[in-house]
Structure formats: structure tokens, C-alpha cells
Symmetry: C2
Subunit: 315 residues, 2 copies
């Protein structure tokens, strides 16, 4: 007798009303993704991974892009709450304002945080990049190639990825029994303009660096801009390393060495952990440390100082 109902339903093309279901069941099958900066291909990739995974589990993803404007983060979180998303993936612009921090303590909703510090008492899962390892490899590589004056340009140390990168950088020097030149470490901002200005500044020092590490993929654009303006050639007068592999790093000539990580997978993991929590609320929170790896390319893979002029010919 229930068969008759089911058959009639399919024949009439009945589809349950998703909103009515949501109201009754108390969940919306929707995740919010608070993204710091969509125009950054790295974030676009993370979003892609999260959306792909969420969709396979029947969840949809709503987006709110803070466009690098830290003040918008908290506002967007509230917006998601109003819309009753089941959980939120958080990739804040800054290190997380007080307001955002308070919200993460909200027990009514589950959060997964990407590459940001979370007070350990909060029941919040995290997807963290192991930036230190890749950066240590990169710095080792530069030291092994003969560099001693290596510059590091990155964002404020309050940001976890920056702090980890700086740690890897310093550890590599320590391992080699060397000390990095403190005047070459510039930790101020991840914006391209900062990369440009600090590069110009560094290269006009009396003792300029022989290698530059851009600790952030957006910074690279500024670093390259400054190098071009000064008429220098990467891979010849200067070694260069960046973070995260994008078209630019692969196709620039000389190709640019990078510390890579699987960003798509980070997005997948974020959605995975979040949905786990939603399906089973008393499941323990999870923390992933996503590996990074250094990929040497022509922008840095040569001995310093350049020995013969012949070797330089193809620049």
C-alpha cells in the first residue's frame, strides 16, 4: 500500500520541498565558506576542493569573500548564522579579530579553520599547512647553493603560515650553523605592494641579498615587479623562491622555485572534517597537517656566486 504512494509520487514527479525539510529537520545541508581573498588562486583552489567534496556528501557551499578586508570577517560569519548554515569553513584575512574568536566559541555551530591559530580549548577542527618543512628545505637549498645573504619577505608574524615559514627559514640557518641576517627579514604584509616596496628597499642596501624568498604567493607579483623595475634578472643576479605553485611560477622564465602544498586537498579536508562533525556531533575534533615540499627550479637552482660567464649565457 505504501508502494502505491511511492509510485504516485514518482509519476507526479513529486520532489520534497527542501526548505520545508530544512525547517522541520533543523538543518540546511549548507556550509558557509568564509574566504579571505577569492582573487588569490590558492584560495580559489581551496574553495574548489571544499565545494567538490561537500557536493558529494549532499551539502552545498555558500561563499562570502572578505576581499582582504579583515573587518568583513565577523560580519560574514553573522550572515552565515542568520542563514542557518550547518557549519562554517573559516579562512580569515588576518589572525582573527576578537569578534571572530568569540564566534568560534559558539557551541551552536561547527567550525573548521584553515591555517589559522585556534585557542586549544575550542572544539574547532583545523587544516594546517606544514609551511615550516617546505621553507626549511627551500632555505637549505639556497644555503647549499652558496647563498648567505637571504632575504625573507612575508606577512605579519601573527599569521600562522608566516610564523611557520619564518621558523623553517631560521631553522635551516641554525642547522647549517649559520645565522640569518636580521636586516633581510621583512615580515609586514602579504600584499603585492609590500613585496614590491621591500624588494626595492632590500636590493638598494649596501649589502643587498643574493637570494629572495617570497613568503606568500601574492607577494611574488610585487617582488617580480620591483626586480623588473631595477632591471635585474632572476636566476642570474639573484635567486628567487616563492610559495605555492601557480601558472606564473611554472611558466615564468626562469621557472620559479616554490614551496608547494596540495591546496585542493586542504579544501576537501576542511569540508570532510566539518561534515564529520555535523553527522556525528560528539565525534572528536580533527587536525590535519598538510605537508609542503620544496620544488627547485631555475630561479634558484644554480651555484652562487656565478663562477664562469659562460654558464650564464642562457640566463
Amino acid at each position: 500500500m505504501e508502494q502505491r504512494v511511492t509510485r504516485a509520487a514518482t509519476e507526479l514527479g513529486y520532489e520534497p520541498h527542501f526548505i520545508a525539510q530544512s525547517l522541520r529537520k533543523g538543518n540546511t545541508g549548507t556550509l558557509g565558506f568564509l574566504v579571505a581573498d577569492m582573487s588569490n588562486p590558492v584560495f580559489a583552489d581551496i574553495v574548489r576542493g571544499a565545494e567538490d567534496f561537500a557536493r558529494t556528501k549532499g551539502y552545498a557551499v555558500m561563499l562570502a569573500n572578505s576581499e582582504g578586508n579583515e573587518g568583513l570577517d565577523a560580519e560574514h560569519l553573522r550572515l552565515f548564522l542568520r542563514r542557518r548554515v550547518d557549519g562554517i569553513i573559516v579562512s580569515t584575512v588576518g589572525s582573527g579579530s576578537e569578534e571572530v574568536g568569540r564566534e568560534l566559541a559558539n557551541p551552536n555551530i561547527r567550525y573548521v579553520v584553515i591555517d589559522r591559530d585556534v585557542p586549544p580549548d575550542l572544539k574547532v577542527s583545523g587544516i594546517m599547512g606544514d609551511h615550516a618543512t617546505g621553507m626549511r628545505e627551500a632555505t637549505m637549498h639556497l644555503i647549499n647553493r652558496g647563498h648567505r645573504s637571504i632575504a625573507l619577505i612575508s606577512g605579519p608574524e601573527s599569521l600562522r603560515p608566516v610564523r611557520e615559514r619564518a621558523r623553517g627559514f631560521r631553522e635551516a640557518f641554525a642547522t647549517a650553523g649559520l645565522k640569518p641576517r636580521k636586516d633581510l627579514i621583512r615580515l609586514g604584509s602579504l600584499r603585492p605592494e609590500y613585496g614590491r616596496d621591500e624588494t626595492a628597499n632590500l636590493l638598494s642596501l649596501a649589502q643587498p641579498p643574493t637570494a629572495i624568498v617570497a613568503g606568500g604567493n601574492r607577494l611574488l607579483a610585487g617582488v617580480l615587479e620591483a626586480i623588473h623595475t631595477l632591471g635585474l634578472e632572476v636566476g642570474r643576479q639573484l635567486a628567487l623562491v616563492s610559495c605555492d605553485d601557480v601558472d606564473l611560477t611554472r611558466l615564468y622564465r626562469p621557472a620559479i622555485s616554490v614551496v608547494v602544498r596540495d591546496t585542493y586537498k586542504m579544501g576537501q579536508l576542511a569540508a570532510d572534517y566539518l561534515i564529520d562533525q555535523l553527522i556525528n556531533p560528539q565525534a572528536p575534533i580533527q587536525n590535519a597537517l598538510v605537508p609542503t615540499r620544496f620544488v627547485a627550479r631555475a630561479s634558484s637552482d644554480f651555484q652562487w656566486p656565478r663562477t664562469s660567464r659562460a654558464e650564464v649565457s642562457r640566463a
Copy 2:
């Protein structure tokens, strides 16, 4: 007396239940964005524009990424319908399958289509790029610089942007009283691999092109890859023009000439038109033609054939 209620509401921190409102009002305040390929920075920008605008109007944006897989388009549309989004911004992978075409005729929901053909009888707004104009300028520029053997690599002509680009390309030749070499026009796919293979093929012709136009920003990666493999130098042995300005085109050396358009604005317009229709259902549909413009850079901005060797020095 209503003041007492309002005051109590604010004091108790009352917030209306969005889902209950949706059920009652019959709309969700949500737009679906069917995006062909999120890893393409151009689409990421369009999404960003749409989301930004939608948010200012109180709408949220749900994402479904087809990842270049045409079959997923229709499936994702159905998914949006199930979730009762109020309207959908459609940027399909291919020229639009039959299934998608049928769905666009669905009068229960409003659509805005980005850069795809729409049967004129459908009540569907469109945001179209004026690719022909920019491509005409680009081709003129190459002809004026002395090129006669100009290759065009792009996707299938069933795609509106491709067809428009090919039209602009041919019109430039016609205007100059010339004929393009048909064997240099390769309209097959927008994927990087196609760009790579066709570039390799073109450059091994007995009469290779002296300039290549990449009609699609993803193609450029493949084109550059092939050029590098062959050991050629852009801006020296070969002129190069691409479509859509990205980090790579700006920062590659020599900088790469491009046909640009305001992608962020296209996203904004899409959301704008869509929300217009939602607010006022009998408003007429709108069509935007977003201008494109050619930006000459060092990859193509030189006289052909190269006259003196001196001029070449800075490559």
C-alpha cells in the same frame, strides 16, 4: 504598544528564523552560480563580482563548479532547483547541452547567462563580452607591425567567445585588405594541452607563423610551454597575444599583450540583472555587452621582421 514588542524583541536578541521566512515567503534569498571552471582566475573574478554585488542586496551565492566537465552542468542546475534558489547565474562549460537549454526555458526560475548563446525566445538575460572588438584591435596591431602569418588558437566555434574572437580576427584581415592563412587557424579546445600541441604543430610547419594569438587565457599556459620546449623567445622570434589579463601576462618577461575585459564587473552585472528580475518579475530582460580592449606589451609591440640586431639586445 508595538514598541513594547519591538523592545522586548531586541532585548531578548530575537532574530527571525531565515528558513521559516523562506518557507513562508517562498523565496530563499539565494542565487546559484553555475561555474564552468573555478581554477580559471577569470571565472574566480566573475564569481567574486557576483558574490560581492549579491551580498549588498541581501542575497547569498551558492556555488557549483563543473570543473570543465560539461556533463555536470545539467546536474548542478537540478541541484540548485532542489534547493530552491531564487535565480541562477549560468556559465556553462560547453555551448550548452540540450538538457541545459531545456532548463533555461523553465519559467519558474530566472536565469542570467554569461558569454553563451541563448535562443532569443527565452526570457533570459545575458552578459556578453565584446570579444570581437578587442581581437580586431589585437590583430590589427600585429598586421601593422608587419605580421602576415598570424596563428589563432582557440576553442570550438560553438562557444560564443571563440566565435567572436575568430570574427574579430578575420575582420581585421579584411579591413587591411588581406586574407588570414587558414592553416594557421586552430579552433579546437580551450584546454592548455590543446594550446601546447597546436603551438608545437604550428611552429614546426614549413612556413611557421610569426605571431600567435592565444584565444583563451588557459590556452596561454600551453602555448608558452610549447614555446619554451622549442627554445624560442617570445618578443624576439615570435610575437604573442593572449586573452584576459592575469598575473602571468603582466609579469612574464617580455610582458604579454592581451585583450582585456572587466571580469569582476561582468559578475556584478550578472547578479544585478538577476536580482532585478527577482524583485520585479515583469521587468524586461537585459543584455549587456561588456567592452574589451587590446593592451599592447613587449610580447608583440615591435616591428616584424626584426630589423637591426641592436634593437634586440634587451629582448
